[in-house]
């Protein structure tokens, strides 16, 4: 008799999701899915709103990465306006994005994943959380809190508040940076370096204990997508997209936001409210790809800052070609956090960061526009269409977690096959299957949108796992 194992909810993620594992009659894993069960509807209710409201509206998709949506949305609006924002505004936005990168990666590493890494995948679930980490390793707990605080303080200093900030508007930002705020940010940097150094050191010692997990945590060849600069250095705010294949060969380069909207399609699967983006030229699912820290570090040749460059060199030694196991995303996040601190320091060293000209103005000059950015979790694209009055007629968002949907599902299946044997599993096995998803650091609040009609299947299982009834609405 076949059996379905359900993990619901999946813990230590942003948002709500569930995993189902289908066993065959021999108790072997036949299939597994990661279901995203939230519906948000932002693309629908923004229709009819003036385009310049979109950054503020879209920031409210998420409380973890509002800055990403703020920036991608503003860039889409600027495409509609056909403006290039002042250089100082671009640098200020870059700093905001970097601050978000650091605080988001700190949350992912310290709060969501370090309980597994420090306490063990099989540790008592009652203690396997941030309080358990704090009790076992206070210094690392403090480092995590301090790194989050670093990023959040900068966001608050620049944009007025930590969650759903304003300040970023179509055309630039509303206010320049003054010297007092610049100096406050600079004063935060030494402690941030110390804390990320602590985390990197701790992680490198811990990683060796997880060789078995590394082998089966979404460890498979895939394509990768990320922003990159023309000099092939790391970039999360501007630049253009590069798509590479499993061997590291470039499939397409220089992809602008508008080209992205032509090149990427979206498939729908009946078991999730999240779409499944893919590179159209390769079809679905062959055109699926991964985004996020692993993809970014696989694609770039240099970080562009000295300490992060050294760390990148060490990271790339993990494999001869692209690094494949999603477990290494933990390492990649810490390298990116280090880069973020270095880059913020570099930006603040330029006296031009205090320039007063930080906003360009214009009306509607095009009836559609797209903007792209690297959110902490991966590539984010906002695409809007407007009428002559600038009212939104259509909006589409492709978010990082959506890009990674296919890979997360494959990863869950791979881990399920490794850890569920003869229909038997331990709590640690189920935790490991959840932990695979956590390596992607998905933000499920962002990634749920409607696409045409919403397939809905309700499966009724009896107490022993037998399917009793199934209701479908297509």
């Amino acid at each position: 008799m076949s059996q379905t194992i359900t993990i619901d909810p999946v813990t230590r993620l942003e948002g709500h999701g569930k995993i189902t594992i289908q066993l065959n009659s021999q108790g072997e894993v036949e299939d597994a899915h990661f279901h995203i069960t939230q519906v948000r509807g932002f693309e629908r209710f923004s229709q009819g709103r003036p385009f310049y409201e979109m950054p503020g509206l879209m920031a409210r998709i998420c409380g973890i990465c509002p800055v990403s949506h703020l920036l991608a949305s503003a860039k889409a609006c600027e495409a509609i306006m056909s403006v290039r924002i002042p250089h100082t505004a671009a640098q200020l936005r870059r700093m905001l994005n970097l601050a978000q990168l650091v605080q988001s990666h700190a949350l992912s590493f310290f709060h969501l994943s370090s309980p597994d890494l420090l306490l063990g995948m099989d540790s008592d679930p009652a203690n396997r959380h941030i309080l358990g980490v704090a009790a076992a390793n206070p210094k690392l707990g403090l480092a995590g809190i301090a790194l989050r605080r670093f990023g959040q303080n900068i966001i608050e200093l620049l944009a007025g508040k930590r969650v759903h900030p304003g300040w970023v508007v179509p055309g630039g930002v509303t206010e320049p940076l003054d010297a007092a705020k610049r100096d406050k940010i600079l004063a935060l940097i030494p402690e941030a370096y110390a804390n990320v150094g602590l985390a990197l050191g701790a992680y490198k010692q811990i990683a060796d204990k997880f060789k078995a997990e590394i082998e089966v945590f979404a460890n498979f060849p895939s394509n990768y997508l990320s922003l990159i600069n023309e000099d092939e250095s790391f970039e999360i705010t501007d630049g253009a997209l590069r798509l590479i294949d499993a061997k590291g060969k470039t499939i397409e380069d220089g992809m602008t936001a508008s080209r992205f909207t032509e090149a990427i399609g979206e498939a729908v699967e009946p078991y999730s409210y999240t779409k499944f983006p893919y590179y159209k030229a390769l079809g679905y699912p062959e055109g699926s790809y991964r985004v996020g820290p692993l993809a970014r570090l696989n694609i770039v040749k240099t970080m562009g800052t000295p300490q992060a460059n050294k760390e990148l060199a060490g990271f790339k030694k993990l494999a001869t070609g692209p690094v494949e196991s999603s477990f290494h995303q933990h390492h990649a996040r810490l390298v990116e956090a280090l880069y973020g601190i270095e880059k913020i320091e570099e930006i603040l060293a330029d006296p031009k960061i205090l320039d007063k000209h930080v906003r360009a103005t214009a009306g509607v000059n095009r009836l559609e526009g797209a903007g792209q950015i690297e959110a902490p979790r991966g590539t984010l694209n906002h695409y809007y269409k407007v009428d002559e009055d600038g009212k939104i007629t259509w909006a589409n968002l492709i978010v990082a977690t959506g890009h990674n949907n296919n890979a997360m599902n494959k990863g869950v299946l791979q881990a399920s096959k490794a850890y569920v044997k003869d229909g038997k599993f331990t709590e640690g096995a189920l935790n490991r299957i959840e932990a695979v998803v956590r390596t992607f650091d998905p933000c499920l609040s962002c990634s749920t949108h409607a696409f045409g009609q919403m397939p809905l299947v309700v499966t009724l299982l009896s107490a022993d796992g037998e399917v009793v009834d199934r209701v479908a609405r297509d």
Binding site: P9, T11, R12, L13, E14, G63, L107, H111, L112, P125, A126, N127, R128, H129, I130, L131, G132, A134, A135, N137, P138, K139, L140, G141, L142, G144, I145, A146, R148, R149, Q152, V163, I189, P190, E191, Y193, A194, G197, L198, L200, G201, A202, K204, Q205, Q307, L338, E342, E345
Partner: protein
Amino acid sequence: MGLPRLVAGEEWKAEVRAIPDNITTPIRCLILACGNTTRSDDGVGPYLAEWAAERFRNNADVRVVSRQQWTPELAEEVAAADSVLFVDSSVSSTPGHVRLIPVEAKAGNSGVATHHLDAHELLGLTQALYGSRSAHAMLLTVGTGSTEFGETFSERVEAALPRAQGILEEAVLRFLED
């Protein structure tokens, strides 16, 4: 700016610190509220925080912090305070019921929770990280009648606000006397 020496061995398990270095101003009393002002009665925490900020605006011994939810970073604020009064709505109390209870630090069951904590867990985290113990830690709650979308309170919560303000004020003044 170079990186500090990367640590090896067990060196990174260091002693806890009593007060976070970055909090420059230790405070006698912290009022720490949470709630969502767009979800009707869930906004009672921020409402009372705003009232308290005005009530104690001339008192340098009182700091008021209001957030949508309590996150681990707030452990730093709690560690720097002699006493802390948590303020929140409560779905487990009858609508409009005002309650003031001591808060005991606990490890909590944060397997499901990601980055938000309840008062007990936040206190537990503070003690685990900073080794500090508050002289007083109390939780003031007002029972919710409605958490529907909206920016007004239900009738019973609206009626309970003067009592909640009175209990809040009395608690803070008692903390300051000790």
